[in-house]
Amino acid sequence: MFVFTSEEKNKIEKIVGRYPVKQSALLPLLTLVQRRDGYVSPEAMEAIGKELELSPAYVQSVMSFYTMYHAQPTGKYIILFCHNISCQLNGADELLKYTAKKLATDVGGTTTDKKFTLHQEECLAACCGGPMMRVNDTFYENLTREKIDQILDSLP
């Protein structure tokens, strides 16, 4: 069963209060749930829908439009590895392959210990520091094999 805690209920009320129309809070609420659970389950979609007076189907139709929402559980750390032009020009492809091999997962996959999910990502606005990746909320720039080892090995 999916339930919002009373603390979350308060937070939701605050978020909804920012907008003249309740539906505007849909993306913020999806983000809220995903930050707590790592993904948004069908039960969560229903609960969000109830808060905002939207059908679960509508919630899903919006959610599925945006690539950052996950309908399935992901790893503890989500690695978004930029492969767009500025990073590509500075060797991102090779480093992405290296990272996949290091983690023994496919690009798009999750490691067997559920620690990492690895995605190739479109431009993340860190073009002057390419190659780069984002691990959860943190940007790491000017990557090398050694730096990637250091960053990923040090995560608890």
């Binding site: 505007s24 905002l52 500025s86």
Partner: protein, 419 residues
């Protein structure tokens, strides 16, 4: 000349006390001493143009707001997603109060009481910093009720997207802000008439709004005296790719591209030969090395066959495989097409497939012509500018480097015969 990046690397600038000590929030006093329409006039005179990509004059945009229709909204576009562009992130993370100050002045000019900053979803960190800055500004009375006795009430909120390039397009941004799929809307009506929640809405890029405090402080004429005849002021340029010192640089509009690449960014890595550059983000046509003396301003770049766009200068040296780079950009547009209209949805996929075939050697002779044909069928026929953006790199790479395509195809065909 530092307008946007003044003190940008000062420690603690994101803190309101330090920002105030540098003269921060002073423009509001000046603004509130004038009538709202006078502020619009000052910005019109300044010649400030939208720094997000379209380059539309900001003051003119504000003057299009439907008369006497309230409430009105402001949506600040912090969805920075154009490949090659990373200037707004630097402003947002290092100097959030500059943006807040610009937003307050703009809302006063346009009589707006609610404003949102739409961040791309990956900017959680910048959005958290902004929330903190907004709280500080509230405490000091720069936001909230009757700001500095001006009579202006203003609430400002951050809003996070969730990964969709298309939400940088203004009407898609509004849909996303309303809790819908980020698909673009049919125009007209333009947002100034019917925008957020069907009300008149101002949408400006982060960098545009960050220029407003200086203009209010110093006057429109002074800003208009900077730059070229038609391209006024300064511009942040994100220089990336094969340069020694990639980074965001504030330039006076009109500076030759050569100076940006070779002086500011330190020249080409390993002292290689410059082969090509994309001057304004991945959506604008690439230019060959012989165009390197073109001025970096709206008109000169257009004359040279490209655009200033978002101000992302992507530099490529002679080792680059143009087909490979174009293939990656084609993948990007295919991935980001929202699927609403057929020419874009189908066209971006075909282009990516054909480029992939060329790159892997499955393509034969007429493939390049087929690409050009698809470009023709997409240009100006898509619902929103994403379709035209997707054509930019493909058509221009063929125009500039057709021989690279032909040689690659010939070589791969030769390889096939040899095996």
């Amino acid at each position: 000349m530092q307008i946007l990046f003044k003190n940008i690397d000062m420690k603690g600038l994101a803190n309101i006390d330090i920002y105030e000590k540098q003269g921060g929030y002073q423009s509001l006093k000046k603004a509130f001493a004038k009538k709202p329409e006078e502020i619009i006039e000052i910005v019109k005179v300044s010649g400030l143009r939208g720094r997000g990509g379209a380059g539309f004059p900001a003051g003119l945009k504000w003057s299009f707001l439907a008369k006497d229709v309230f409430p009105r909204y402001l949506a600040c576009n912090a969805d920075e997603s154009e490949p090659g562009t990373c200037k707004d992130r630097e402003l947002l993370e290092k100097n959030p109060h500059l943006l807040i100050e610009g937003i307050v002045a703009t809302c006063y000019a346009c009589q707006i009481e609610t404003a949102y900053i739409y961040f791309r979803g990956e900017f959680q960190h910048a959005s958290d910093l902004m929330d903190k800055a907004i709280e500080e500004a509230h405490k000091k009375g720069y936001l909230g009720k009757n700001i500095m006795g001006s009579g202006l009430d203003l609430d400002l909120y951050t809003h996070l997207g969730a990964g969709a390039y298309i939400c940088g397009e203004e009407s898609a941004l509004l849909n996303s802000l309303e809790g819908r799929r980020g698909e673009p809307r049919l125009k007209p009506p333009f947002p100034a008439v019917e925008g957020l929640y069907g009300k008149p809405t101002v949408i400006n890029n982060v960098e545009t709004l960050c220029a407003v405090p200086w203009i209010v402080n110093e006057g429109g004429e002074k800003y208009a005296a900077i730059g070229t005849e038609k391209s006024k002021g300064t511009k942040l340029v994100s220089v990336s790719g094969h340069v020694k010192k990639p980074g965001n640089y504030e330039i006076v509009l009109g500076m030759p591209v050569r100076e940006i690449i070779f002086d500011l960014a330190g020249g080409i890595r390993d002292d290689n030969q410059l082969k090509a550059f994309i001057p304004g983000g991945s959506s604008v046509p690439m230019l060959t090395a012989d165009k390197v003396d073109v001025g970096y301003d709206y008109e000169s770049l257009q004359e040279a066959g490209s655009m200033l766009g978002s101000g992302a200068l992507i530099v490529m040296d002679h080792t680059v495989n143009v087909v490979e780079v174009t293939l990656r950009l084609a993948y990007f547009y295919m991935h980001e097409s929202c699927g609403k209209c057929t020419p874009c949805r189908e066209g971006t996929r075909w282009m990516w497939q054909i480029l992939g075939k060329i790159q892997t050697g499955e393509g034969v002779g007429a493939q390049v012509d087929k690409l050009l044909d698809i470009c023709d069928n997409m240009s100006f026929k898509c619902f929103c500018p994403l379709g035209d953006a997707a054509v930019g790199p493909v058509a221009s790479s063929i125009k500039c480097f057709r021989s690279d395509y032909d040689e690659l195809i010939k070589k791969l065909e030769g390889d096939k015969v040899a095996t």
